[in-house]
Symmetry: C2
Subunit: 300 residues, 2 copies
């Protein structure tokens, strides 16, 4: 099971009780933190996300509403005596910033942080259950999107059928990979006859702050869930472009062109207290849209 | 009127809904921010503190629970189009840290920040209504306390009495300063006969993270309100000393020796969910003690 929890959905200034951007993507074994605005560690406590489960952190860009909560989270992990490694993927300058904060406090973290500077598009991480790649989005400063793909799962063996054909347990791993079995007498047992297809591996794409960019639709093609920023309503498209942000209909256009299954939108401007119109406008272009609401968990 | 609002009272890791250290000291015209843990700008919104009113910020030391919220607050002030100057008093390294954050975001603030590096004990600021001095406290890294003193207020003129003696309005400023008046006929009118004493000017001392240090009692002598850190209960005095922190009874001893009017205690360790015992123990030594509770406003 792959699920996304929203910890913050507001842009720039926290407003109306809405926090800056942070999301948690979790499967049964792993938790990934995507962006980390100020107060993320407090939001994690509020929504019962265990800090210790997070193995990888992905920071899209160095505007404060996407990372000012990171140094607090990292030092709290140390105060909680974390031992496991943490992998951090971020623009290169963040490494200097973190080091300066630690130096100022005369502190070293009690666990190892592997800093991976983002530079080229392509694969960046390969975990137990996931492959993760990054791609460029167009913002005022260097900014990245992230594509999370579950690894292909093994086919599941039908216990009655393998017994019927007397297939030895030593051959099960091959069956799970999709191979056929040939009996000692030379009879071919088709794989599909003794196994069932695995659950489809799911994909999630995160498009951080970006101006409207049609080329994104190819980068997030066919994903099960797309998060795309939607800072403004559609009447503000000029302001959006001037600030390298998107409107509701622009985000929905990317989802539609990309043929994704579902879209969630967030990073709402502090000028909006009520968010209903965001959903109305996006749905006019792409029906399967939902608002990224804080605390909500979206199963993928 | 001088009043102190507590925005955070926890140490190190946020816990049990308690936030890291931040306080606002306000008089009728001015607001001073003292320390600025992560989430302070969110706490300011929650407790209706206007960011625009803050003219001076004082950072005691560079452990994260005392300043990780500052960069977020400063950038939010800029996004809100602040125009007035901000004066920031802090350990020297903070200037580099802030600059690195701004450089990473390719941002400049739209208002002027005057950075005042803390170095020697003594007066540091002189505002319309306040004099502010800093003094050293003993922590694992350089750390400062702050002493806020209201300026002496003018004596108030009794309108009926000045009319009775036909004292000209041009002499009122001298009367407010306490001078006597001599009539044209050479009759001396005693100042006390035509004016009333001003309200006593109040004082507030903030003792940030510190080990027990008896010399502090002289630095905060006779203040109207003393805030002193109290990270642990008294049975943890060895742990407190090892970490350069204080216990309940140690904070109360400083208040007692300093002859202060009232003590508030905070910076509670995350190991304590319930705080009642902090008050019980401190009151055993110094009766006029209160807990620094988030959102509470203490009139001085």
């Amino acid at each position: 099971m792959l699920a996304l929890t929203i910890l913050g959905n507001n842009s720039a200034i926290p407003a109306f009780g809405r926090n800056p951007t942070a999301q948690i993507l979790q499967n049964d074994d792993e938790a990934f933190l995507i962006d980390c605005g100020e107060g993320t560690q407090l939001q994690m406590s509020k929504y019962k996300i265990k800090k210790g489960k997070i193995s990888h952190v992905f920071i899209s860009h160095l505007h404060g509403d996407h990372y000012f909560g990171l140094i607090g989270l990292l030092t709290s992990m140390s105060l909680l005596n974390r031992t496991q490694d943490l992998h951090l993927y971020a623009p290169p300058l963040l490494e200097n910033i973190l080091q300066l904060h630690l130096d100022a406090a005369a502190t070293t973290l009690c666990y190892k942080v592997y800093f991976h500077a983002l530079g080229d598009e392509g694969p960046i991480a390969n975990t137990k259950r996931m492959n993760i790649a990054c791609f460029k989005v167009k913002h005022r400063i260097d900014c990245w999107g992230f594509l999370f793909s579950e690894k292909k799962r093994p086919r599941s063996i039908d216990p009655e059928r393998v017994r019927l054909y007397e297939i030895p347990a030593s051959f099960y791993p091959q069956l799970q990979k999709g191979e056929d079995y040939t009996t000692k007498k030379g009879v071919l047992i088709a794989n599909a006859d003794v196994t069932n297809a695995a659950t489809k591996h799911k994909t999630y794409a995160y498009c951080a702050d970006t101006i409207y960019d049609e080329t994104l639709s190819a980068k997030i093609k066919d994903v099960d869930l797309l998060y795309h920023e939607t800072t403004y309503l559609k009447d503000q498209h000029e302001r959006a472009a001037a600030r390298f942000h998107c409107t509701t209909t622009q985000a929905a256009e990317i989802a539609k062109k990309g043929g994704v299954k579902k879209l969630i939108i967030g990073h709402f401007s502090s000028k909006y207290e009520v968010l209903d119109q965001f959903l109305v406008e996006a749905k006019e272009v792409f029906e399967h849209t939902e608002l990224a609401l804080e605390g909500a968990c979206y199963k993928i």
